[in-house]
């Protein structure tokens, strides 16, 4: 089912042969969501997600297990999302008109607080932003995040700590304003 | 004896030029019983040099000698009969060797048997840039032109090496001199 994380169950329980199409179906939400929460733009997120899956297809035979595939997808999705933003920034130096504005999605289930948090997360610098997404969207531990992001564990923890503190403060302030 | 290099007071800054072999010499080939015609320009000399072994002392020596040369030209005719060529055949050559830069350093004449030899050196800013030798006798004509930096004694002293015979016309008399000259 879309959204269901592959790799959390043993492969014995999932006897289906692993095909590209089956992985695409199982993992598209995860990949898309990483890009979406990072970029705050659906079409940009789909563009990044498509690139990630095209790359997966080229390397599919090299990835031996579901866990390996999941790790690989998270890693590539993270890096591709960051690259996308950097590319947009460099293009922005040329002409601001070409930079796509983050869309304000009308996701029905998003409450005001969720939208506020999403917006605040979106305002974090790139690496702390991705660290937060991997922690709270993907439930990865700092060590796993360090592996995906290719950064030291202590840096991951530092990003988490500071980002949480900043988000708490801003949310408290905005909730205080609302009240 | 070392071949004396004359001091040139006025040397035109001309590059070493090969001597133009007179066209008239070509017809001598038909009359000659033995003909040697060697024409090695710079490119051919370099090619030949590549096949001279560094490991063989003689070949290595020749390789070094040849390194400074731009051309080696030899025409040699031997005739069965006397007087198959005229002095005028060679005169055109001698005229060329009177050009600025050239100097005759050796002239040997023998009235007894008609053996004559001339050695010319070309210098350019005090450096040897060419060598020409004309040897004539009633049954032989040899012309050598070497373009580049070489001393006559360097080639002379190849005798006994590199398969070149060492000539000892007066055995005994010149032994001591040969030893002094050998380097």
């Amino acid at each position: 089912m879309p959204g269901q994380a592959v790799g959390t169950e043993s492969e014995v329980d999932n006897p289906e042969p692993r095909t590209f199409a089956s992985v695409l179906r199982a993992q598209q939400s995860m990949v898309f969501s990483i890009a979406y929460h990072f970029l705050r733009d659906r079409s940009a997120a789909e563009e990044v997600a498509q690139d990630v899956f095209l790359q997966l297809h080229r390397r599919f035979d090299e990835l031996k297990s579901d866990q390996h595939i999941s790790f690989w997808l998270r890693k590539v999705a993270s890096h591709r999302s960051i690259d996308y933003v950097r590319k947009q920034k460099s293009q922005a130096a040329v002409g601001l008109d070409s930079v796509p504005m983050p869309s304000v999605d009308g996701e029905p289930e998003d409450h005001f607080l969720n939208r506020r948090l999403q917006s605040l997360i979106g305002s974090l610098p790139e690496k702390p932003r991705m660290v937060m997404i991997l922690r709270y969207q993907e439930d990865l531990m700092p060590e796993e995040i360090a592996s995906v992001m290719e950064m030291p564990v202590r840096t991951v923890k530092s990003h988490l700590q500071r980002s949480l503190a900043m988000l708490r403060e801003k949310i408290d302030r905005s909730m205080g304003d609302v009240r | 004896m070392k071949f004396a290099i004359p001091v040139m007071l006025a040397v035109l800054p001309l590059a070493a030029q090969e001597i133009k072999m007179p066209v008239s010499l070509d017809r001598l080939a038909a009359k000659a019983s033995e003909v040697v015609d060697v024409s090695l320009d710079g490119a051919l000399l370099q090619l030949a040099s590549r096949f001279l072994s560094e490991k063989d002392p003689d070949e290595a020596h020749v390789k070094r000698l040849v390194g400074g040369l731009k051309g080696v030209y030899v025409k040699s005719f031997e005739f069965e009969d006397r007087d198959q060529y005229k002095e005028s055949d060679v005169e055109e050559l001698r005229t060329q060797l009177k050009a600025p830069g050239w100097a005759r350093i050796v002239s040997s004449r023998s009235k007894r048997n008609g053996d004559n030899a001339d050695i010319y050196l070309k210098t350019d800013a005090g450096q040897i840039s060419g060598l020409a030798i004309i040897v004539t006798d009633p049954r032989e004509l040899t012309i050598v032109n070497i373009v580049g930096s070489i001393r006559p004694e360097d080639i002379r002293d190849l005798g006994g090496h590199f398969g070149i015979p060492k000539i000892d016309i007066n055995p005994g008399k010149n032994d001591k001199k040969d030893k002094e000259d050998n380097r």
Partner: protein
Amino acid sequence: MDDFEKQLKDALTKKDPSPFFEARVLGAVKRQALEHRASSRMWWASAFAAVLLVITGSAWQHERTIREEAAGKDAKARLELALKITSVKLQRISRKVEGI
């Protein structure tokens, strides 16, 4: 995990891409595979041509080497002859001059 972090998890719930995303990706994968096959065929054709060039080039080079070697040995032989003649002449002249 405290309440705030739970709130963050809620805010970062996975979202689905558009309904056509899967079909678009599979279509792009097909196009990619076709392009890869075409470039792979091109690659094999180029590789074959390159190998052919190397073989013919090698044969030509080998023939050229043999010719060059023959020319070099010939030039060396002629040089030896020229130096022999010149040396002999100079030796004779030298001895004549020294003999006086």
